[in-house]
């Protein structure tokens, strides 16, 4: 099973999409019904500095929905893993 982050196709969330584009082992599917789909096998990690998201957005970065579970969500880093 893989890990997924859905991202609403709204301007303020575009840094998430841009970051996913360059990540090894991550597939990015263009919006359907308004949501991008960022997917990886096993684990997905995001760094706030690399994304350049301001604080309010970092703290709602996953609001599009996820498949998987959060193993870390700090001010600097988000790590999602497969459901066990």
């Amino acid at each position: 099973m893989s890990v997924t982050i859905f991202v609403a196709d709204l301007a303020e969330f575009s840094p998430l999409v841009e970051a996913a584009r360059g990540m090894a082992g991550v597939t990015l599917a263009p919006p359907r019904h308004g949501y991008w789909r960022i997917q990886a096998a096993g684990t997905l990690a995001l760094q706030r500095k690399a994304l350049g998201l301001r604080v309010a957005l970092w703290n709602s970065a996953l609001s599009g929905g996820i498949r998987g579970r959060l193993v870390e969500y700090t001010n600097d880093r988000i790590i999602l893993e497969n459901e066990p």
């Binding site: 893989s2 997924t4 859905f6 609403a8 196709d9 709204l10 301007a11 303020e12 597939t27 599917a29 359907r32 019904h33 308004g34 949501y35 789909r37 997917q39 301001r54 604080v55 309010a56 957005l57 709602s60 996953l62 609001s63 599009g64 929905g65 996820i66 498949r67 998987g68 579970r69 959060l70 969500y73």
Partner: protein
């Protein structure tokens, strides 16, 4: 053709105050909102209703902010505004039409000694926050981008996921929602059902 019933903006919101002079000076002079109406009345209606002043300041676009000043009363403990996130959830946010105007308000208020607590760009609004003499939390914001059809659909999806997940938890004896992760997961499951599993 059926007429649709809709509201047309704010006439007034109202709060109690026990600081008459400070409140009038803040809204009328510091903020520059015209004082446009004042009711001065003998107490009536409810039992033991005190005599009162009920006064209104023009906050633009035909909206007002109003206060009640109850004569001969002291502020009850439960109406003292405690500066905490949950008390501050009750607040007034006024709209300005550009970021330049927002910054001009920031300058005006700071120039008159009102500390700006935060300036935050949220998803759809950028705002400054400050307090009035009662401690009430006040916001002035400017819309960052228009509301899009996706905002509306996304809000509906989030609410549905949150309510369904909470109902599921309550049925299972787990209590109300505790963490936002459960909402993200419920929404992700709903979206995967809608979009199908990825290729």
């Amino acid at each position: 053709m059926a007429e649709s019933l809709r509201l047309n903006g704010v006439h007034h919101t109202a709060r109690p105050t026990w600081k008459l002079k400070e409140t009038v000076e803040f809204y009328r002079d510091t903020m520059g909102l015209p004082l446009i109406h004042c009711v001065s009345a003998r107490g009536w209606g409810a039992d033991n209703h005190p005599d009162f002043l009920h006064f209104f300041f023009d906050s633009g676009n035909a909206s007002t902010i109003a206060f009640f000043y109850y004569l001969g009363t002291s502020q009850p403990e439960h109406l003292i505004h405690h500066p905490r996130y949950d008390s501050d959830a009750t607040h007034t946010a006024w709209r300005v039409e550009s970021r330049a105007e927002l910054l001009a308000w920031r300058d005006r208020l700071e120039g008159r000694g009102v500390p700006i607590m935060y300036q935050i760009e949220h998803e759809i609004v950028e705002s400054i926050y400050f307090r009035d003499p009662n401690g009430y939390f006040i916001e002035i914001g400017t819309q960052v981008r228009p509301i899009l059809p996706l905002d509306i659909a996304d809000a509906e999806l989030t609410m549905r996921a949150a309510i369904e997940e909470e109902q599921r938890r309550l049925s299972a004896g787990l209590g109300r929602l505790q963490h936002v992760e459960a909402i993200y997961q419920a929404k992700g499951a709903a979206l995967e059902a809608l979009l199908g599993a990825a290729p």
